[in-house]
């Protein structure tokens, strides 16, 4: 599959703050590509640069074979943007909004009318198209928001957190629309979200973004495989080197270490936990440094979380060690993110 998008070391800084820090990735034609990361990770800024809303501080990208800086107009005709905000004119009807967004892409007359009717059908709002948007429910507004990004038939659609504040029914409708656009119209889609369920449902490949950098990029299956059988996070009153080594030695355990935020700074030659090759330059989430005295949080990567849980608890009981908390993360993107960053997606 040829790449419809190739981002090459995109950087965006605001004064001393680095919002996007050398992001590079490629999206294949016809692919649904996810950008997964917490709020403030740099997803929207990345999309803004790719859609011509922001100028990169450095780096560039090619979309449909055109450079986003040198051939911005051509690139903008290929792109469709559905911003996170409800970027619509509330006093105008859905039809008037869509007609306007069609016109600014050069659509006129019959072609415009047909395109507007088409996207109204896609988002299932044809019967209420002439009502002012301010009278719509939140979910309906979201659907018009998506339709406005589709009206000029983009080859590459950017959906930036399209389900924020949406009721479950409308969310399902949005998912179906995305899947239909990709399946029936071969539309390439870049989907940003901090909801791992959405990304898992819709995307072929995912880039996990944190603090302006891509820390992992692969298919969802491969990313989840990083974790093997899931992750257990357990709070202990104290945990020495010997205890960590013993936990690592349990049959169902792949690796164990202190959660990065509680561990001393890792040295460059530290042994990183088992990590998928696709995980790029991910920071180690657990440390093998001598553990501090006092309460700690231990992260345990498992072959199978239920087996590992039984073995770990058995080991702790044998030594009469009390645990203060225990949390099981089944193998999914959430636990991958936790594994890679030491943080939860929605922290």
């Amino acid at each position: 599959m040829p790449a419809i998008l190739e981002a090459d070391h995109l950087v965006k800084t605001y004064g001393n703050h680095v919002a996007v820090d050398g992001v590079s990735f490629a999206v294949e034609e016809g692919e649904v590509f996810g950008l997964l990361g917490p709020n403030g990770a740099g997803k929207t800024t990345t999309i803004s640069m790719l859609t011509g809303v922001l100028e990169p501080t450095s780096g560039t990208a090619r979309i449909g074979g055109h450079d986003i800086l040198a051939e911005a107009t051509e690139v903008k005709r290929i792109n469709g943007l559905v911003p996170q905000d409800l970027a619509l004119y509330p006093t105008l009807s859905a039809r008037a909004n869509l007609q306007f967004f069609g016109r600014i892409y050069g659509l006129r007359g019959k072609a415009l009318r047909e395109r507007v009717d088409d996207v109204l059908e896609i988002v299932a709002l044809a019967d209420r198209a002439d009502e002012a948007i301010e009278k719509y429910s939140g979910g309906m507004k979201r659907r018009v928001n998506i339709a406005a990004g589709l009206v000029h038939q983009p080859r590459l659609l950017f959906l930036d957190e399209p389900t924020v504040g949406v009721d479950p029914q409308s969310r399902n409708h949005i998912f179906e629309s995305v899947q239909r656009l990709n399946r029936d119209r071969r539309m390439s889609i870049i989907y940003t979200s901090h909801y791992m369920e959405e990304v898992e449902l819709l995307c072929n490949r995912v880039a996990i973004v944190d603090q302006g950098r891509i820390i992992a990029l692969d298919t969802i299956r491969n990313l989840i495989a990083i974790l093997g059988g899931g992750v257990i996070q357990i709070g202990l009153g104290q945990c020495g080197d010997e205890m960590l080594a013993a936990i690592r030695a349990l049959p169902a355990v792949v690796n164990a270490g202190l959660v990065a935020s509680q561990a001393p700074a890792a040295r460059p030659d530290d042994e990183a936990p088992a990590e998928h090759p696709a995980a790029g330059a991910a920071a180690p989430a657990a440390s093998t440094e001598p553990p501090p005295a006092g309460p700690v949080l231990v992260k345990i990567e498992t072959r199978r979380s239920q087996d590992a849980l039984v073995q770990v608890i058995g080991y702790l009981n044998e030594r009469d060690v009390a645990f203060t908390s225990i949390e099981i993360f089944e193998p999914n993107l959430e636990s991958v993110f936790l594994h890679l960053t030491g943080k939860k997606l929605r922290e």
Binding site: G52, V53, T73, L86, A87, Y89, T91, L92, G106
Partner: protein, 427 residues
């Protein structure tokens, strides 16, 4: 670009508050203000503030410099008429020609000019009627009326004197022609002759005073100075510039709603997008002027106020309105670029615009206050807009007289646009 303009006009058409603020409020304001103030100043109530103690200057172009009667007239205007009349001369004492003096008048260096024609003295001595011309650009009706009365009073005295002298001269001629003339009967003869001369002078005064215009005198009479002629253009300028907030608010709303991102992501380009955002403001200003002036012409007379006159040079008026619309619209871009919050656009910019309107003479014409206020007012676009409208609508002048206003307004527009574009944050 036109798509954006059309969309903004559609949004505006659905925004009742904006429509009321742009069109209805100015009409109500003008009607209430003029009605309550009873400001139909045609009767002279609007003028002359503080001028009684000072002698009103009256520059004179004397085209009959060697004529004794012309000199007597100028002296008489000062001694009898209470004016400060003198030959209008350059700093080196050289009297200005009529053309030079008219140019000074059009440049607003002087407010009125008296022109004594060549042969004034000779014609009067020959008993031929003569005309002197007063050209007035002052909108102060009290002062202008006082000057006119003084000139007419002095010239009437001169006419009477001249005609009494003529009657006596005729009596002397009769005496010389008749050797048997009895001096005892001279008074009986003289009185009817003098009465006849006096009656003639009433019907056919020797010296008539003609009011002229500084430019395009062929285009008709100067409109009467009324509160409507002063108030409508002044308040129109106030409310026109208040619409600058419409552009600023529209851009702010686009940014707040996120549609600005969508526009930036479209192939439109930044500058066509910005120009598209300006067009609706421009259109609204044009509509405002049409509606407010129409209200001045047709609505105010229904309320017993004088009708607004649009002057005699409509093409010049159109040019001035376009310049004002451009200036106001570019001011909107500047506000949008500088204001960071809704409060800054709504409250602070409105306050600034009201203060500028006051300084620029939208509320009270600056010629009724003092010269220093007029000087301060010149730094505001309002001043040049108001002055341009006064020149056309109230002074009855033409394009030449308002060229300076148009150029300054276009200059303001360029400055506003450049600063606005420089400071505008697309990101």
């Amino acid at each position: 670009m036109l798509s954006i303009a059309w969309k903004d006009l559609l949004i505006l058409a659905k925004d009742r508050n904006a429509l009321v603020g742009a069109f209805l409020l100015p009409i109500v304001f003008i009607v209430v203000y003029l009605g309550v103030a009873g400001a139909a100043t045609g009767g002279g109530s609007g003028g002359g503030g503080g001028g009684e103690a000072e002698r009103v200057p009256l520059p004179v172009v004397n085209l009959d410099p060697d004529g004794t009667t012309a000199t007597t007239l100028i002296d008489g205007l000062s001694t009898q008429g209470g004016l400060d009349a003198s030959v209008y001369a350059a700093a080196d004492g050289r009297p200005y020609s009529e053309a030079e003096a008219m140019a000074k008048l059009e440049a607003k260096e002087i407010q009125r000019l008296l022109i004594i024609p060549a042969g004034f003295t000779a014609d009067l001595e020959a008993g031929e009627p003569v005309s002197i011309r007063i050209v007035n650009t002052s909108l102060d009706p009290g002062q202008s009326g006082a000057v006119m009365m003084a000139i007419e009073g002095v010239t009437r005295d001169m006419s009477l004197e001249r005609q009494i002298v003529a009657s006596l001269e005729r009596l002397a001629e009769m005496q010389q022609a008749n050797a048997s003339f009895d001096p005892a009967t001279s008074a009986e003869l003289a009185i009817p002759i003098a009465r006849r001369q006096f009656e003639e002078s009433r019907g056919r005064p020797l010296v008539t005073v003609v009011q002229g215009q500084p430019s395009a005198p062929e285009q008709g009479d100067q409109p009467q100075v009324t509160g409507v002629q002063i108030g409508v253009p002044g308040f129109a300028v106030l409310f026109i510039f208040l619409t600058a907030q419409i552009t600023a608010r529209s851009i702010y709303d686009e940014k707040k709603m996120g549609t600005f991102r969508r526009l930036l992501a479209s192939p439109l380009g930044k500058w066509p997008m910005l120009v598209g955002k300006l067009i609706p403001n421009f259109v609204i200003v044009l509509l405002q002027v049409v509606i407010l002036f129409a209200a001045g012409m047709f609505l105010l007379p229904l309320m017993g106020l004088p009708a607004l006159s649009l002057g005699s040079d409509i093409p010049a008026l159109v040019l001035l309105v376009l310049a004002v619309a451009l200036c106001c619209t570019t001011l909107g871009i500047l506000i949008a670029a500088v204001a960071r919050t809704e409060a800054q656009i709504g409250g602070i910019s409105a306050l600034v615009l009201w203060v500028l309107a006051f300084l620029g003479g939208s509320f009270i014409p600056l010629f009724l206050i003092n010269e220093s206020m007029a000087t301060i007012g010149q730094v505001t676009p309002h001043y040049w807009a108001v002055t341009g409208f006064y020149d056309l609508l109230t002074r009855g002048q033409g394009l030449t007289a308002i060229l300076d206003s148009i150029l300054v307004l276009v200059g303001f527009s360029v400055v506003f646009f450049l600063i606005g574009a420089w400071r505008f944050e697309f990101e």
